[in-house]
Amino acid sequence: MIEKDVVIIGGGPAGLTAALYSSRGLLSTVLIEKAIIGGQIALSEWIENYPGFPNGISTAELTNNMKKQVESFNTQIMMDEVTDMETLDRGFLVKTWGEEIKTKGIIFTPGASPRKLGIPGEDIFTGRGVSYCATCDGPFFKDMPVLVVGGGDTALEEAIYLTKHANKVYIMHRRDKLRANKIIQERARKQDKIEFIFNALPQEIVGDQKVSKMIYKDKITEEIKELEINGIFIFVGITPNTDFIKNSKLEIAIDERGYISVDKNLKTNIEGIYAAGDVIKKSLYQVSTAVGDGASAAFNLQKYIEESYDE
């Protein structure tokens, strides 16, 4: 058993920033990450809308810098997974596979995972042509046709990235208008290899050992069509990683879509517990907003700790 002032759960940009503010505020801080420091940005190669880097920056470098910065202020980074959490008379207990931590406050920054399409074939062909990470798997589709599903920023950015490897990149979107911002739309439209398929509803992914086709429905004509491709990259939004909270002894308010409910100070329904980043409901999910939330959550938690532990 160890004792800390603050436990931060999740090592993406929100968690790393919360850890920076918390440890720099001289609170003893541990950040628990179960798989990847950097979180979802590790799924992209490059970021160009994070301020301070006029030429953009690789996500690996940005993550590495953030990690170094928090470590320089003595945040302990623990690569482990939270198994349970509970409220104590004073503070909380966070259990992982390898440790038990008594703490005054918790900041949830577990982020989100790519949402699935939820159609037949998606699960069986994951790793057999279906992917949620273009930078990880794009090179496997050299000179082959691939399909990107989605119409937001991520879908278009990743489609542009995939033109480096694939010989054809289809973008399938269920509506006739894209959600992605105009500058990215323009860039995508300029790519000869990219072709849009609008008003298309994915129905089933088929193949033998590997993906060979996407079956989809034309929303206008109601016709069922087939598209022959070798790879399918799915970018249809995110789903918050809150199952481990629902399965714990803590009674944190979580909405019907899985997001943690917070007030304007990023406080959850429990005093001393805050949340930040992609796990809360907000209008824009970006590294820049995650970083902002992370800082605010840490600042507000510090105020709470100083007021309630003032002996």
């Binding site: 799924l43 996500t59 690569m79 482990d80 790793g127 930078t135 990880c136 496997f140 590997k210």
Partner: protein
């Protein structure tokens, strides 16, 4: 570091002919999540030295083996028992998930 660097050339000898449990981390330099999984694999190779044989295979440099196992997504971790592939994990996952799967074969 007790991991073995696997190649198209030594794969059969190191894994195909190995009696017991082995895990292989299929990776590439351009795969960011792979870099995050590597330290976990290294820890497992140390903690389970003598029980689990641990290897890493660069899919760019060893395309034959990568193709033979139909690798189309990395990181992929494959579990081998007596030279046969028995299970796999696709994507970056916590160490506990890897350990739990491998323990089924120990």
């Amino acid at each position: 570091m007790s991991e073995i660097i696997l190649t198209d050339e030594n794969f059969q000898e190191e894994i195909g002919n190995h009696k017991g449990v082995a895990i292989i981390d299929f990776w590439a330099v351009w795969c960011v999540p792979c870099r995050m999984v590597s330290p976990i694999i290294e820890q497992i190779s140390e903690e389970y030295a003598g029980q689990i044989k641990v290897g890493k295979l660069n899919v760019d440099e060893n395309r034959n083996i990568a193709a033979q196992f139909g690798i189309m997504s990395i990181p992929t971790i494959m579990i081998f028992q007596d030279g046969q592939m028995v299970d796999q994990i696709i994507g970056a996952v916590p160490k506990s998930v890897i350990i739990a799967k491998v323990k089924n074969y120990l």
